[in-house]
């Protein structure tokens, strides 16, 4: 076999959320093409939102992704409240942030333990990993469970929470109802710190990416459930200008749309958030990040698992802080009276920025909806990373190279359910 | 001898019960209704709250006084404590032993007191016996019947029948806020001795009696007179069931809120390993399609037959099975039916169809 012309085939990419394929063409020892091919069937959410009530977007868009439903819900209510200029007040906002922390903990931990760590340790899945490292996996599951406990207590359900709505919540939990969560989270904090230390011991291939970065920004805290936008070139803009900067286009090989930031390839997600906002992390998160060898920025996508682990520490800290200072909002929601116009909302889904835009008519019905999920924003970056990884590792044999490609993709925890969905790898070496 | 407690005396009574280790269950406001819940303090009583109740509609209302018992039946009944919605019966290790609980029920109305006795007859020989044995009952005479109440026509109220330890009648006027007390047991009598009270004046006793008696005339609903047991028995093939079935959701709410509906389904389950097996039971409803399931299909598939089963059981076949009416007239099934189906109106409709050849 020559290393100059090769053809690689991978049936289905595993341990990603959704379904897709990867196609790599190598000719004359050069990577000619890398395509992340998304074949998740489209579900036409933007179309089926037309004619629905403004209040329904929260429940409907949640169903785009079972992994990060709170992200969809948050971006939706942010957009609706942007349209009406509603202010839900600090108490409701805090409860929402608590809910979102639950999703970060649960979703990040899912990715770290069940989807990504097996790559670093050479196992096909977490169940096999547990055969040799049961304590480890149990620690991960306990951490994940703590995240889900927040989602269940505050949101009413871990997947597609029922309690949140535009304006706030249907019912706000009492202090007594939140108390057991704090107990569980204090134990989870130890698990979260352990996770960082454990992951820090993994071996990370070298790769330094040069994409533009985009993340939400909040002057007072590490942005999660809302924020303005900031880029690595220190351009900042309000959410309502999002579409002036980000343009989506369709590519032939994918049912997901690809996005560009001011005409350039860019990245959102943990690396972008960390690099742009790490100074806003909690002291404990910053400290453990430093211990784990992370500087104030991180541009190696293989280290994203580490950044996620640090974000979990932060989310646990935040959740505890919020519960400790919780004051039950009464009423649990503010009235949001719809009016005709356009509203924009973003939030930081575990995998990156999630943008919603709605055009509402005078009756409060949605006339048009645009949703830009993180994976379509990141797709160009992922393809670019792949190209560089393959180019740098042409000496590897096909199985090893294929595995490395899959790993590269998993760095992004690409949520194909969101973008449309994922993976099946074909590599052609010509 | 009749005595009187004031509001502070009532609070003291609750505190004494709590201090004695009773789990005091009484009315309190939660999530838009007056529910029955364990009270940590007499301050949780629904002072100043009333309710407006109609078929399929219940609303909390602020009163212009501070009465604590001036409301009619809410979404739950006492059966949730004596006959819980879910009970574990046994595991591989044998029967599930229940730590004995001493409940003190505060604010039991005549209808509900009758229901506790009715359930006692049905569930004799089950764990209900023990739960009931340790029970202390503080009943209340009803002076403020609700829009769907009809205990007077079922003979269970408004004055509570036997079976209580203490019975209170709440009176509020320009002078004071007082509770006329009747004792029904030695336990009740010795409780009263431990709280501040005074002797009731004859006027006060009269006033309380009159108020309770007057309540009988202010019931929002009334069962048609006549032999309901025979009426239902003879109405098995009435076309009226089909008519009710058009409206009935077969949702089962009426049975779940009914203070005497006792039916349960057993669940035998194992865990994933199959190494642990256990049995529990949960409230069932004759409106559930599977309730009458026999191999090959359910006996009662139509909504009409299920509604007929329910109403006939309450008003007629209960006599055959347990010697009394299964309906005590609390009105819960009417209030909490989402479409407001009214058992008294359906009984009247059947009666109006006139005599049939049995």
């Amino acid at each position: 076999m020559t290393h100059r012309n090769r053809q690689l085939q991978v049936g289905a990419l595993a341990r990603v959320e959704g379904e897709g394929a990867l196609h790599v063409v190598i000719a004359d020892g050069r990577v000619e093409d890398t395509e992340l091919r998304i074949y998740e069937p489209p579900r036409f959410f933007e179309a089926l939102l037309q004619g629905r009530a403004y209040s329904e977007a929260v429940d409907i868009t949640s169903r785009i992704c079972g992994i990060c439903p709170v992200a969809y819900q948050s971006s939706a209510w942010n957009a609706m409240e942007d349209l009406t200029g509603s202010d839900v007040g600090e108490r409701i906002a805090a409860l929402r942030r608590l809910l979102y922390c639950g999703e970060w903990i649960s979703s990040h931990t899912l990715h770290i333990y069940l989807l990504h760590a097996p790559d670093f340790l050479g196992y096909p899945d977490a169940v096999s990993l547990a055969k040799d490292h049961r304590d480890r996996v149990e620690c991960g599951l306990a951490l994940k469970k703590a995240g889900n406990a927040i989602l269940e207590q505050v949101g009413g359900r871990a997947i597609h929470p029922v309690n949140p709505k535009v304006g706030g919540f249907h019912r706000a939990p009492t202090n007594a109802e939140l108390a057991p969560l704090a107990e569980q989270l204090r134990r989870a904090a130890d698990h979260a710190l352990d996770t960082v230390r454990w992951v820090a011991g993994f071996e990370f291939p070298d790769l330094e990416l040069d994409h533009e970065l985009l993340a939400a920004y909040d002057a007072d805290r590490y942005a999660i459930e809302r924020g303005d936008l900031v880029t690595s070139t220190r351009v900042s803009f309000p959410v309502r200008d999002f579409l002036d900067h980000v343009v989506e286009r369709q590519v032939p090989h994918s049912t997901a749309l690809h996005a560009q930031l001011d005409g350039r390839r860019y990245l959102t997600g943990p690396l972008a958030r960390y690099t742009l906002n790490s100074d806003r992390l909690s002291p404990r998160a910053r400290q453990v990040a430093a211990e784990a060898g992370l500087g104030p920025t991180c541009r190696n996508p293989f280290r994203s698992i580490l950044v996620r682990a640090v974000e979990v520490v932060y989310a646990v800290d935040e959740a505890l802080r919020i519960i400790e200072s919780y004051e039950r909002p009464d009423p649990p929601a503010v009235d949001v009276a719809p009016r005709a116009g356009v509203g924009h909302g973003v939030s930081e889904a575990p995998r990156g920025l999630l943008y919603h835009r709605y055009e509402i008519d005078a009756a409060g019905l949605i006339r048009a909806a645009t949703i830009i999920p993180p994976t379509s924003q990141n797709q160009a970056a992922i393809e670019n990373d792949l190209r560089r990884v393959v180019q740098a590792n042409l000496t590897l044999d096909d199985p090893a190279l294929t595995a490395l490609c899959e790993r590269t993709i998993r760095n992004y925890d690409p949520c194909i359910s969101c973008s449309a969905h994922f993976l099946d790898l074909t590599t052609e070496r010509r | 001898m009749n005595v009187v407690l004031d509001r502070a005396g009532l609070d003291e009574l609750v505190d004494v019960l709590l201090a004695d280790g009773y789990r005091v269950v009484g009315p309190t406001v939660r999530d838009g209704a007056i529910v029955l819940a364990e009270l940590d303090s007499p301050a949780q009583l629904p002072a100043g709250w009333g309710v407006d109740v109609e078929p399929g509609r219940y609303r909390l209302r602020r009163r212009d006084d501070a009465a604590v018992f001036a409301h009619s039946a809410g979404p739950q009944s006492w059966k949730q404590f004596l006959h819980p919605a879910r009970q574990r019966l046994f595991t591989d290790d044998g029967p599930v032993e229940e730590a004995p609980v001493r409940y003190a029920f505060l604010g039991v109305r005549g209808c509900d007191l009758a229901a506790i006795a009715t359930l006692g007859t049905v569930l004799r020989g089950s764990a209900y016996d023990e739960r009931r044995a340790g029970l202390l009952v503080i009943a209340v005479g009803c002076t403020e019947p609700g829009g769907v109440c009809f205990c007077a026509s079922m003979g269970t109220g408004p004055a509570p029948g036997p079976g209580y330890d203490l019975a209170l009648t709440e009176r509020l006027d320009d002078r004071d806020h007082r509770f006329l007390v009747e004792t029904g047991s030695d336990a009740g009598a010795s409780l009263i001795e431990r709280v501040v009270h005074r002797v009731a004046t004859p006027d006060e006793v009269d006033d309380a009696d009159t108020a309770v008696r007057a309540a009988a005339g202010r019931m929002g609903r009334q069962m048609p007179s006549g032999d309901l047991r025979a009426l239902l028995r003879e109405s098995r093939e009435s076309p009226h069931w089909e008519e009710v079935a058009q409206r009935c959701l077969t949702c089962g709410n009426c049975t779940m809120v009914c203070p005497t509906c006792f039916c349960t389904t057993t669940e035998d389950v194992t865990d994933l390993t199959g190494e642990h097996a256990e049995r529990s039971q949960r409230w069932a409803s004759c409106f559930e399609l599977d309730f009458s399931y026999l191999h090959g299909g359910s006996v009662r598939t139509s909504g009409a037959s299920r509604y007929r089963q329910w109403m006939t059981h309450k008003l007629s076949t209960w006599y055959d099975q347990f010697g009394t009416s299964g309906c005590v007239g609390c009105g819960r099934c009417i209030a909490w039916c989402p479409v407001g189906i009214d058992i008294t109106a359906e009984a009247a409709a059947l009666a109006a169809e006139g005599p049939r050849d049995a």
Partner: protein, 274 residues
Amino acid sequence: MRADPMLPTPYRVAERVVETHDSATLRLEPVGTALSGARPGQFCMLYARGIGEVAISISDAQPGGSLVHTIRDVGAVSRALHDAGAGTTLGARGPFGTNWGLESAAGHDLVIVAGGVGLAPLRPVVLGALARRGDYGRVVLIAGARGPDEFLYRDQLAQWATGDDIEVERTIDRPTSGWDGPVGFVTEPLARLSVRPDRTIAFVCGPEPMMRYSANVLIDKGVPAGDIRVSLERNMQCGVALCGHCQLGPLLVCRDGPVVDYATAGPLLTVREV
């Protein structure tokens, strides 16, 4: 402490006899204390650990504490019971309900009509009558099954058929090669039977329509409804009149049945969906 009415008593399968392709008879021996006093017509709640519990009739009167039950596999629980091999531990509660009251039929002719697995609860009636043959007049058994291989207790039936103590009529639903006996539902031989209406007690068990038709045939012959005893079936969860599932109008079948005279049962079975 009150004995828990829902707690099964352990029994071990001592013997399992295959009856038909989907039915088997189990002889159960108590592991510890035995349930006592089982009478023909009554039933036990048999428990397959972790799978569930169902009502199964007493199908043989046994001295001592052992129980004999014939089970037809129709669903998850009955399958687990049916499949239980010798040595398996099962649970049993009971015996529950009314019985056939065979003694009270002394001095009468007995007409026993069984459809399918309905023969199981009736076998002890036959055995009881044979044991005290002199107490009864004519004894007739009409047993129906879907096919020749679907009869329970085939050897016993054949043996009874050869003697003079009992008249046995077997009928199958549809003609089958190798079967030269009567074909048709049990109501056909029953209709041909000449009975002394005032001196006959009938015992009927089988699918509900079969019991209705049989009772009607007997009533047409002048047998009073009160002298026709049927065994009823309703969904049963507890067996002890606590769960409410087995209601049939005024009856709690587990307590007031399963054996009920047709004067009581008739009006309930002829109205739809009671």
